[in-house]
Structures are given as structure tokens and as C-alpha cells.
Symmetry: D2
Subunit: 342 residues, 4 copies
């Protein structure tokens, strides 16, 4: 049993962490903080948790986070970097679900996130929490930068091609579609039901914060810089990301075998049979990334289709997966979830 704290539990990644951790056999939920809602019972805000979570939100100043074994930050960008140093010093391990520690190049980070970094030395130390790439480092990490939702779906889709060196890195494209929960639980006009239901649109086509995070990862896989185009879209789903990836293959290669071998020991990446089209609903509520690929008209263009639940494998589920690895639990403990279909 480990003691777990959550900072900032009133958003969608917060309630999703609670849904997963409440049933985790090795977790004792010790504290969940919210400055604004301190004193409110968590289950009054999220009635699905009635009967499962008895905690109330506590004031961040008063919560005894230092006695936790691990603290998750389900906060806006820029919060975790203010508090991580102190927690780490107290021997607490930290998993940040926001973007504070994801990008190694601080100049790039500051440009895209519009602030100075509060603890650059921890950026260097932080491990990027994509278990399929960094499992060994995660085991001993004190500080995890949990990947973004788009970056998880896109990187896992490109990884086998780039690691094998069979794709033309001068033109990689990710046309990605996200459900509306990705916009968070904050009140906004754009995310209103009457604005985003029965409509489809791109956004951030000229530049999105997940671009540098993905580019950094793709460069790592291929060992060189890549030329990467990223266009995100909002689609009327609650949950789900579908990434459609375009790359030209430069060598003859058995793509199905390449994907299956790369992911054969991965509990949360499912390579479908050739010719499949993964549906986001097949991973709704589950920690799975489901992947297939196509080669239209047998040309050199490969189209990879990669789906996740943005709140699970794209956020809270992957964070719990990282926690399991860090504490030596079975990697799928508390994550044996089947997608809710229909």
C-alpha cells in the first residue's frame, strides 16, 4: 500500500485519476487538493464516485502531501514546477500530468508555454513517462513528465517506423482528432455542447503546443531532426483521440511484422490485424493504444491509425501505469479495463 496525493483534482484528469485509483489494490488515497473547492466532498462534485471515494478536497496549504509516497499534479501548466522541488526533497515522487517537464529545450518550452521555467534543473532530471520507450528510466525516476494526449497517440503510431529507419523523415504528417474533454472542465464558450456538438473543425493548424513535444520524441526515435506537420481537430466525442499519420517508406519492409515485434511485450499497445480501422470507442475508458496501418494502392505512402482515450492512456491511465512501474507493482494493476462499447 502506498499513500497517494493529487494536487488539483477538480478537472477531468483529476476525476479520472480518482476513478482509477479508488479501485487500485495498492493505493490509499491520502489527499486531494483544490484551493477553490476546499471542504467540498469529492463525490458531491463527481457523483459517479459516490460510494467509492469518501475524501473531501483539502486546501493545498494544509494537505500533508509530504507524507505521501507519490503526488500526481492534475493542474494547469506552470503549477507543478513551483512545488516539485520541495516534494522531491521530502522524498515524495512526483508525476506531472501537465507539460512542465516534458520539453528538454527550455527556450522552446518558454516560447510555447509563455513563461519562464521555475526549476530548470528538474527538467533535465525528469523522465518522459512513455513506458513503451522509457520503461527502465521510469523505474527509478523521482519525477515523471507524463506525456500529452496527442503526443501519446502520435508517437506510438510513428515509433516502429522511425526506430527502424524505414520512413522518410522529411515529411511526417499527423492529422489528429480529439474529443472535447481534451479542452478540460473549465467554462468556455467554445467547448459548450451547443457549440461543439454536430460540428467539426480544425484548430491551432498554424501551431499547437503539442507540436514541439511530438517533434522532440520523433527526433529521438529516428536519431535526427524530422520535418513534422501537426493539425489537431475537435470532434464531437466526449473522450477519444484518433491520429491519422502519413509517412513515406523508403525501404521494402514488412510493416505488420515491424509493428507486432515492436509492441509484442507491451500490455497497453494493441496492433490490430492488417486492414483494420480502430475505433476510439474500443478504448473508451481503457488504457489501451490500438493501432493499425494501411498502404493505399500499394504505394510508398503508409497511413497509420492510432487511437487512445485521451483521459486514460492519454493522461490518468498512463500516469497510473508510470506509478505502477515506479513502485514495482504489476504494470497493469488497477488498469485491467475493457473499453465501454457500445
Amino acid at each position: 500500500m502506498i499513500k497517494v496525493g493529487i494536487v488539483g483534482g477538480t478537472g477531468y484528469t483529476g476525476v479520472e485519476l480518482l476513478r482509477l485509483l479508488a479501485l487500485h489494490p495498492q493505493v490509499e488515497l491520502a489527499a486531494i487538493t483544490s484551493r477553490k473547492e476546499a471542504g467540498m466532498r469529492v463525490a458531491d462534485m463527481f457523483p459517479n464516485l459516490r460510494g467509492h471515494v469518501d475524501l473531501a478536497f483539502s486546501d493545498p496549504e494544509q494537505a500533508d502531501l509530504a507524507s505521501c509516497d507519490v503526488v500526481f499534479f492534475a493542474t494547469p501548466n506552470g503549477i507543478a514546477m513551483q512545488q516539485a522541488r520541495e516534494l522531491l526533497a521530502a522524498g515524495v515522487r512526483v508525476i506531472d500530468l501537465a507539460a512542465d517537464f516534458r520539453i528538454k529545450d527550455l527556450v522552446v518550452w518558454s516560447k510555447w508555454y509563455g513563461m519562464e521555467h521555475a526549476c530548470p534543473e528538474l527538467v533535465e532530471e525528469a523522465v518522459y513517462g512513455l513506458p513503451e520507450v522509457n520503461r527502465e528510466q521510469i523505474k527509478t525516476a523521482r519525477l515523471i513528465a507524463n506525456p500529452g494526449c496527442y503526443p501519446t497517440a502520435v508517437q506510438l503510431g510513428f515509433l516502429p517506423l522511425l526506430a527502424a529507419g524505414v520512413a522518410d523523415t522529411s515529411c511526417l504528417i499527423a492529422d489528429a482528432k480529439s474529443g472535447v474533454s481534451g479542452a478540460g472542465r473549465g467554462a468556455s464558450v467554445r467547448a459548450l455542447f451547443a457549440e461543439s456538438a454536430d460540428s467539426f473543425a480544425a484548430y491551432g493548424a498554424s501551431g499547437h503546443r503539442h507540436l514541439p513535444e511530438i517533434s522532440q520524441g520523433l527526433a529521438g526515435f529516428s536519431g535526427k531532426n524530422v520535418n513534422f506537420t501537426f493539425v489537431p481537430h475537435l470532434t464531437p466525442l466526449i473522450r477519444g483521440i484518433h491520429a491519422t499519420l502519413y509517412a513515406r517508406v523508403t525501404h521494402g519492409v514488412d510493416i505488420q511484422a515491424l509493428f507486432e515485434q515492436r509492441y509484442q511485450n507491451e500490455p497497453f499497445v494493441d496492433v490490430m490485424p492488417a486492414g483494420s480501422h480502430p475505433e476510439t470507442r474500443s478504448v473508451r475508458g481503457a488504457n489501451t493504444c490500438r493501432i493499425s496501418w494501411h498502404r493505399p494502392q500499394n504505394g510508398d505512402m503508409v497511413v497509420v491509425l492510432s487511437v487512445i482515450d485521451n483521459l486514460v492512456k492519454g493522461a490518468a491511465g498512463q500516469a497510473v501505469q508510470n506509478m505502477n512501474i515506479m513502485f514495482g507493482f504489476a504494470e497493469s494493476m488497477g488498469l485491467e479495463l475493457i473499453g465501454l462499447l457500445p
Copy 2:
């Protein structure tokens, strides 16, 4: 460990049974039949089950159902009554998720279901599987008539008032709303996305098959016939039933206490605080019936709000709950599910 068979697993109650049973610690899935899809792997039809269910559909003639401990019928009405006698004779317990054994009055049953009953003697023996009412009989039952989705939500909402004799039974109304999965997985124009999304309508307002089932239950609770009006509606949800119930109270009574006492030991009925409005999403994927009530302008009209997931507490989840009771497992085994919110 018990051996479990499912007859007719290609519909929504079938895949939902599989989602629940695949993770049940005391269940070995022995067979799932489908005449039409025999030989197809279940996970090829329902990709959310990939990695969780290895079975293929088997031909009903060849499946060794007689060696199962329990068989679920997730079939259209009229199938279970053809096969139940033989299975029971072989010592197999049977849980029918269709309507074959729900209504005790065979004349009424034949009128609403349009066929003669194939084994009237089993109708008498069958136990109506609403655990909150019939738990003791369920323990020893050989044959369970699993309640309909609307009947579950409506009966649990009216039960405390009628059992206490505080409601005017001359005018009970249930205005009920269901998600589209209630219409099943069969191809139909009416259930097309382009027909049922962004629209709302009543159906069967002049008469619906769940009317006699509910009336039978309400009469049982109150010890006399009731005058009951039932209007179902189709709403653009995948899952969920919301029943809005209207009754006049005839005696001074503490309604909140009445509901809380009636359900205090029930693991799957959640009475919310006074003044609450339960949301269907709070039980999405969970086996919970969540209830609250209102008394507008402090008059004698009581409005009860009752929500369930039609595929879980309204079908497959309740069936598993019945199975747990029948085999002496913890009643909530395999059913510790938290609603998927958002």
C-alpha cells in the same frame, strides 16, 4: 470457479455480459453461441474485448451448454422458453435477459408478446430477478427472469412509496427516457445515427411491452392493482435510462428517510441527498440505480428521479448480480464499477 455459457452473444446485452464476466474472478467463460456468426472470434466483432476474450462464437447445436453451471440467454424474446427446460433438466441454472419468464399472467404475456408460451410451468417457477425485492428467492432459484431496463428503473423508484402505502395508486405515471442502445444492435432505420441523433421523441405512448411487467411489480409492492401510465421516449444517449415518476402522497411522511431506510443495505441503489438531480452519466457502465426525489412547491405531488445504465443494472449487470447471489459469491463481485464521467 463456475463455468458460464451465453446464448446469443452478438447483441449489446451479450457484449456487455462479456465485458463484465471477462474480469469476474470466479467465472470461466465456457461458450458463447451465435448461429449466424459461428466460428468468428468474439473480439473480431467487438474489438474492445481484444486481449480479454479469446473465445469464438460457437454453433448453438454444438456448444456444450449442458456442462455449464449457468447459462445466460441474451437472445430475442421467445428463444429461452424453447431451451430452458432441457438445460434445467441437466442441472444448469438459467438466467434469461429477455422477457420470456417475466410476466406471471400468461394471457397478458401472450397479448403483449404475440406468441403462445412454450413452457408455462416454468413461468410459475421462475423468480423475477430484482434482488432488492426477491433476494431470498434468487438464492435458490433455478431460473431467473432478469427484469427489463425500464421496469428496473421504474420499480426501484416507486418501491419505497408503494411498500409504505403512502402513495395514491389510482394515478401513477412514469415518464421514461432511454438511450438508443435499448433498441438493440439489429440494423434498423429508426436507430440510425442520422435518425436519432439531435432529436427527441416519445414512442409506444399508447402501449409498450414493459407496461404489464411494471404494473405487475407495482401491484405486488402495494398489494393491490394500480392505475399506471407509462410513456417511453428515445433520447440521443448511447446508454442510460432516466425515469421521472409522478405520484401523490396521501399521508404525511419523511420521504428521504423512507428511501434511505428501504435501500440502506442495498449495494447497488444509491439514494442521493434531498434536492439532487441524478445524471445518467453518473452510472454509465456501472451497476448502480441512483435515485432522488422532489416535492414541488411542497404540494402532495412527489417526483422521483431514477437513473440506471440500461445495459448494466438494466440488463447484464443485474444478471451478473443475480448470478452472484445464486452461487453464493459476494453480491458485488465483478461489479465494482465506477460510472464513466465524463
Copy 3:
């Protein structure tokens, strides 16, 4: 040609007025005001209007509303009552789409709307703009209180029964369901897509502002006070209201004939054949109220089903209908709209 002004055009009733008025052959759009968005082109906020509306929002202080023939208030409650006196004095006719002038009893109004009324004498003068009831008074009115969305659907559904005196007024129930656009275009957590999609819930079951408005109307139809229960629900539609009405008939009566006769000359009320179930989508974007009724099991309970588009017949369309009547145009001018199905 008349000159038309709109006060407060950034909400959903505002953009819907623009959609209708932009194509109205007798209307010149003179001004649309918004304090917050002054200077912004209307079509930049609502791109569906590109190529149809060239206006920019103007500051309310600077807009020359006094030179308009008619001004619509598409504002929150409490604004129109501040400005109507001055406009009327300038000879401008006023149509208020909010609730300032709907309720004749000022004590009731203040209780439900939580403010003192700024011009009680105009409440008396104002005509309640339900053309099917008050067409003659509308013709000469200076000030119209445009009905609320729920009140339109509910009143038109009950009207024939109550006007004929065949319903028991001691127990009238309206179980009403609304799309999310009824909550307006203001940022709010509750109306987020991720909160209100794929979920269904009641709200305001203990009391909603439209209750006194409807009760006032029903009492007028029946010539005596009524005992009325009103439970609104939020359903995942963008547009649409479905009211399910319950009343007991006290006299033998041909209900179909009653409804057909009452509405035979009404261009915007469509009585469907007996046994029909109107769908909200059949009036999506149209100014129609579509009605049918049922008498389950031939008892004395009558169930009336009434659907409207909350933004058209429930708001902007009815307002234009009132304008047409006031200025002697054909009542359906600019309103010959066919529901968008699918």
C-alpha cells in the same frame, strides 16, 4: 420595409433573429448592439452569417435605436425593462424575448426573478405574444412579451383541452425536455459538451421560472386556477423542446377533432394524425409547433406530445411572427422554413 434594431445580439436568440431577419423581405437590419463586442463584425462571431449580414456590433449608447420601427431585446432578464419606456416614448415598438413583461403579477415576478420591476405600468400594457391566443391584441400592441420556450410548447399543448373545459385542472403535469442551447451561449461548466453529451438529467424539479408563466397561461385558458407540476430536463440536443403533458379528461370528447378545430387556421401549429409521435428534428430550424396526443389503454388519461425548436417557435421565430402581425405583413413572411431533417 421597416427598420429593425436588436439589443444584445451575441447570444443564441440574437444570432437566430439575424438568421431569420437577414432573409426577411420587409426588414432592413439597422443596428445590433453589444457593449462587450462593439466594433466586431457580426459575421466574425457567427460565420454562418458571412455573406448575409454586413453589420458590426455597435455600442448600445451610440446605436440609433430610436429611429427604428421595432427593437428586439435578446438580452438577459432585467435589461428590457430599463430601456423600453424610452423607446416606446420615441414611437418604437418593442419585442422583449426575455421575461421582463411576461408575468402580470409583479409579486410573483419579483419572487422568481429576484429583482424589483423597473416599470410596472408597462407590465400591464404589454401583450403576451402567443399569437394563437392573443393575435388581435398583438396587432396593435406597442410592447410584446415574447413567451418563453417551455411555456410555448406546454401552453399550445394544453390549450385545446383547457379552453374546452374537458380536463381535470386539479392535476396537470408537464414533463419537458430541452436541448442545451436553451441554456444560452454563456460559458458554463454545466453546458459543456463533456458534461451534457451522452447524459440526461432533470433540473429545477423543485421550481423553475417558467412555472409561474405557464400557470398564468393555463389559468387564463381554463378560467380558473390550475394545479400544475412542471419538471424540466436537459437532453443532449442542440435545439428542440419536447413537452409530454398529462391530463385526465372529465368528459367524453373527440380529442382529435378538438385539436384540429382549435388550430385549423394556425399557420404554425401542426396537429398530427392520431397515434403519431412528433420528433423534435421535424421542427429543427422551423417555426412550427407539432402536436399529437395519446390515450393509453383508452383510459381517462390523455398524453399530449408537443415539440418546438426552442430558438425558433420558442424564441426568435415567434418574435418575428409577432413582428409580422404588428406591422401587417403576411404572418408567415420570412418564416416559411422547413425543418432540417436529417
Copy 4:
């Protein structure tokens, strides 16, 4: 006034033609045929048309189509080619909304549509009804091949770049997303609400029938063969197509000016300001194609965003536009429609 017939009016393009033609000032609806529904009143199937269309479906054998001025085929592929010859011989002009006459290369057509062509000589004569490209030929055409929905959105998005010769034609990509009404009104499991709501997936990634139609068009614009990749996706919209197009520019060029000049006289193509993201809802119910473009990180990759309503500009609306051109009516007659937003 012209007399208009519709063959096959029970699908979504049929009801959409009726919605548009019922209010067209120069059209008399003479006949609408359906073998299966002969005798049924159109408005009984599509209640949005109540009060607007009085016709009943007539048997195709008995309908006097030869006396019409123009006949629309809103039929499955392979029907129009059986009947067009006879109608043309009778002096009737024909607009086929299916694919029978879209592809000039009959070998290609037969491969993708799986049948022999019944009247090859008419394929040659038929004019591809994309007014923005072929307006002059449409004026005098006897037979129009109305473009597919995806082809309309994709071709209008690529046209300015290809016609100007500034794009690298060796790698053109269209990542397209369609609402579910594009699958038609036939009963199917895949298009059920419970299957396609709250989910997103690609389909036909290895090859879709609209690929050769689009390739033919793009080759025409650029004067040479193109290497084109097309991946369609199903998104939970009723109506709407969003095409995201990727091309590399090979010359310095003012892209905004290029698009604005190409479409400056087009009534139904709207080039948005630079940096915009068109939403499908902005054209819901309207005959508009709305376009913008981006150049991420100022590289040589251009991303064009193009949206239409698949049933209007992608089918029935474009067909009426073609009819207007053929008969010398104002091109926008009956098509002055504003998108239904919200």
C-alpha cells in the same frame, strides 16, 4: 415554372431535394417515385415536409417522368444509367446524384463500382456538375453527373493551388471526415446511433470509390496525373464534411490572393480570412463551401481546410444549383440558405 421529377426519393438526398425544391419559386414538383413506398405520402415518411409537400410516392412504372423538364436521380449507383437514355430521348434533362456518369474512364468505373456500364456513350456526353469548374458546359448540358460529397470538398480546396501550378503534385493528401448521413438512410449496423455516436474511426483507408473521381478532377486542374492519397473517416455528425488537405508549395505565392481571386465571383464558395478554421456547422443546411488555409511554421507545407454540408453542396444543393444554371434561373434561386448555427 418547370416540372420536376425525382426518382428514388426515400433517401437523404431525396428528402433534401424536396426541402429545397418545395420552396423554389420556379419549380413545380410533378412526381417522386419509390417502388417500395408507392402510395405513401411523402410527408408521412418525412414529417418536416408536412404542410410543404403534398405529393405521394408513385410507382416508377406509372410516373409520367417523360413530361418533366428535368428529372433528378436520387438513387443507388447503377439505376440512372438504366433510365437516362429514354428520358433524354424524350427531351427531359437529367441530373444524376449517384456516380453513374462521374468517371470518364469506363475501365476505372467498372473496377470501383463492380458492374458493367449500361450506356457508355452517355458517360462521354455527361457534364461533371461542379459549377465552379464547368459552368459553361452545364448551361447546355442534357445530362449532369452531380459530384460526390467528398469530391466536392476536396476538389474545391485543391483547385486554386493546382490550377495555378504552385503545388507539388507528387504528394497530395486529403484527410476527410464525414457525418453519418453520408452513409445513407438504409438500415445498417455500422450507422446505428449506438455504433457511431461518441466514436471516431477511419474507413476505406486502403481504397474508397471517391478516390478515382477526385484523382480525375485533380489531374484535370493540374494538367497531369497526380499522386493522391485519400483517407475518409466517420465522425459523429449528422451532416457535414471537413476535408483537411496537405500539399507542398513549390513556388513563392500569395495563397490568400490566389484563393480569393479564383473564387471571387462564386456565390457558393467562401474564402475565409487567413488563419481561420471553418466549422462544418457554419454550412449546416446551406449550399456553401467554406475554405481557409494555413502554412504551419511558415514552411512549404500548405494545409487547406474545406467544409461543406454533404447533403447540400455535396449533393442536393449542388444539384439544384446545376438545375438553375441549366434553365437560366438565377444561380442562387432557392438556395439562399443560412447555415443553422447553433
